[in-house]
């Protein structure tokens, strides 16, 4: 990384942090700290919603996902626009009318304090762990860039992020998101252009797309109904819709974003804009990964993308074994490059027989590469059982560092860094809000001063940040980061969504039945995750449907509605 890259990186981050602090100054009450005084317009809300969801993990792991598994991950987002419409009709006007600080506050009026506390607690667990992963992502960047120990890097970066997030509150978070999204999308566009322009002379963009398709990297839609496959059209549309309903409708890190809207209309427009652009945006990011994959068909990719792990094995007693694998990999890559050129020539002449034979040859080389990578991963694990062998997280980053020109590396890294900080800020901000509003103000100090609530909110941001750092230390054992975050969310979101749907639509169900239903729903999800091969998006459906069904059955078994809930409703 050149000095120019460092200048761009530091200058961009300094601008974002300074801008956030400046925008977030003068906050004297909880309303201003949590809801930014409800002054935001739809475009700020929309970009803030997108920036909250699209953390550094999105930009590190998603292109790598396309590199290793193709573009089918885009189906994960197909249910999102449907969820945006449903939430605009139901949750947005309700939350605005009740003027709640958190989504869980609403549940007390409907089901009593027990259910409110349960959902708030489930959120705190899930979001606290997820925020840990968002802190881990930029640590990954610096550990690979500078060869630092990732555990120390987690700690250093985490503390820096905490220091930034505790100062500005929601207003700073929302305003900085807007600039960060522009930088992020600019960074990804630059990466795509460089990947395409770096192809060998004579290889056009259309050639590259055809090669990606031939090698199974443009598999954007799969209509097969296979419950054990994570990403299909059906799991994305149905399971993804349930996940998005729960994430955007009940997760305080998102609810807090659109509750900053000046009116119901501004909040709705923010969500609907997200519904319009989110799927194409994810397609674009995955397409960047597919083009990086094509680029590496003409340039030999590293056998181990993770620099730290590569250095470890090269300085171990297994170095000779690794050298042999690397030689085999290089030989195979050279042969594959020739076959890819043959494939491109065959596709240009539209010679079906030559296309078929060249495709088989390239796929054969691809399979040999996969086998060599598997042997290498086994070797890394033999050398160090704790070795991180998940290449998905390192593919895009390695490409950026090695092939982007000076200045643009700094810009892309700044974009990834900003994205992580913004998601972490939203996470810590919402964790603090929920801790203060649903626990501290509800049970500990109901009549404290506004100054006291803000002070405790900042203390909670710090405590949750330290918790997230602790979890970040284990994140490299979770596999693909983007999948880890979504799997973690899917463990809890279905159950929480079930509670909210009961509250919105099943008026005869009371607090006790809803509470028991939630426990049964969560138990069903945990059982599915431990003892079945069900794709994780379906956990959202299971948690929601089982929770609702159990609550309705329990309600019918109960003699009468509890007095406390009758009073509350």
């Amino acid at each position: 990384m050149s000095k120019f890259d460092w200048v761009v990186l530091v200058a961009t981050l300094a601008f974002i942090v300074a801008y956030g602090v400046w925008k977030g100054r003068r906050q004297r009450d909880l309303h201003a700290y949590i809801h930014a005084g409800r002054q935001m317009q739809w475009y700020t809300i929309a970009l803030s919603i997108m920036a909250t969801q699209a953390s550094a993990i999105t930009f590190l792991s998603t292109p790598g996902q396309a590199y290793t598994d193709g573009m089918r991950f885009v189906q994960f987002y197909l249910g999102l626009p449907v969820a945006m419409v449903i939430l605009s009709i139901t949750a947005v006007p309700l939350y605005h009318r009740l003027k709640v600080y958190t989504a869980y506050e609403y549940l007390e009026g409907r089901f009593g304090v027990g259910t409110r506390t349960l959902t708030a607690t489930l959120f705190l667990i899930q979001r606290g762990l997820s925020t840990g992963i968002t802190i881990y992502a930029p640590s990954l960047i610096l550990s690979v860039l500078l060869g630092w120990n990732i555990y120390v890097t987690n700690l250093v970066i985490g503390l820096l992020v905490i220091a930034y997030t505790t100062t500005g509150g929601t207003k700073a978070v929302s305003w900085t998101h807007m600039h960060q999204m522009i930088i992020i999308l600019g960074g990804m566009a630059v990466a795509l252009i460089v990947a395409i322009r770096s192809l060998p002379s004579g290889i056009t963009f259309l050639d590259a797309v055809h090669v990606a398709g031939r090698l199974g990297r443009l598999n954007a839609v799969d209509f097969s109904f296979d419950l054990t496959t994570n990403y299909t059209f059906w799991s994305g549309l149905i399971g993804g819709c349930f996940l998005a309903l729960s994430y955007f409708g009940t997760d305080q890190s998102q609810v807090q974003r659109y509750l900053t809207g000046e009116t119901t209309a501004q909040s709705r427009l923010g969500l609907l804009f997200n519904g319009l652009v989110k799927v194409p945006m994810q397609f674009f990011i995955l397409f960047v990964g597919a083009m990086v994959f094509v680029f590496y068909q003409f340039v030999t990719p590293p056998l181990v993308f993770n620099t730290v792990e590569r250095m470890k094995i090269q300085h171990s007693r297994f170095a000779p074994d690794y050298a042999r694998l690397e030689a085999a990999h290089q030989q195979n890559a050279t042969a594959k490059q020739a076959e890819v050129h043959t494939l491109v020539a065959a596709m240009r002449t539209n010679d079906a027989a030559r296309i078929a034979s060249a495709t088989d040859a390239v796929r054969g080389a691809q399979e040999r590469e996969t086998a060599t990578r598997k042997l290498t991963a086994d070797l890394l694990k033999t050398n160090d059982p704790k070795a991180d062998t998940t290449e998905t997280n390192y593919v895009f980053l390695t490409f950026v560092i090695r092939f982007l020109p000076a200045g643009l590396v700094g810009l892309v890294l700044a974009a990834i860094f900003c994205a992580s900080m913004s998601s972490t800020a939203s996470g810590l901000n919402s964790l603090a809000s929920t801790s203060v509003v649903d626990l501290y103000r509800r049970f500990v100090a109901p009549n404290a001063s506004e100054h006291e609530y803000i002070r405790v909110s900042r203390a909670m941001s710090l405590l949750w940040g330290l918790f997230a750092i602790g979890f970040a230390e284990f994140a490299n054992r979770l596999g693909s980061l983007i999948e880890a975050v979504n799997k973690l969310g899917s463990l809890f979101y279905g159950t929480i969504l079930g509670i909210f749907l009961l509250a919105f639509y099943v008026k005869e169900v009371g607090g006790t039945a809803a509470f028991i239903g939630a426990i049964v729903g969560e138990a069903a999800v945990v059982w599915c995750s431990l003892f079945t091969n069900l794709g994780y998006l379906w956990w959202n459906v299971i948690g929601c449907v089982v929770g609702i069904a159990a609550a309705i059955v329990v309600e019918k078994m109960l003699p009468a509605r509890e007095a406390e809930v009758e009073i509350a409703t």
Binding site: L218, F233, T263, T264, L269, G275
Partner: protein, 43 residues
Amino acid sequence: MSDQQNDDDLPPVGRSWRNLYLAVLVNLAVLIVLFYAFTKAFQ
């Protein structure tokens, strides 16, 4: 409350909220068709 009702009745664009919801869903349907065509065209 009455201000909120006015917001709900008339969005700034698209004449009605129903039209905006339809626009989002139609956009999704078009994207799915395009993705399917994209997958098949380069398979």
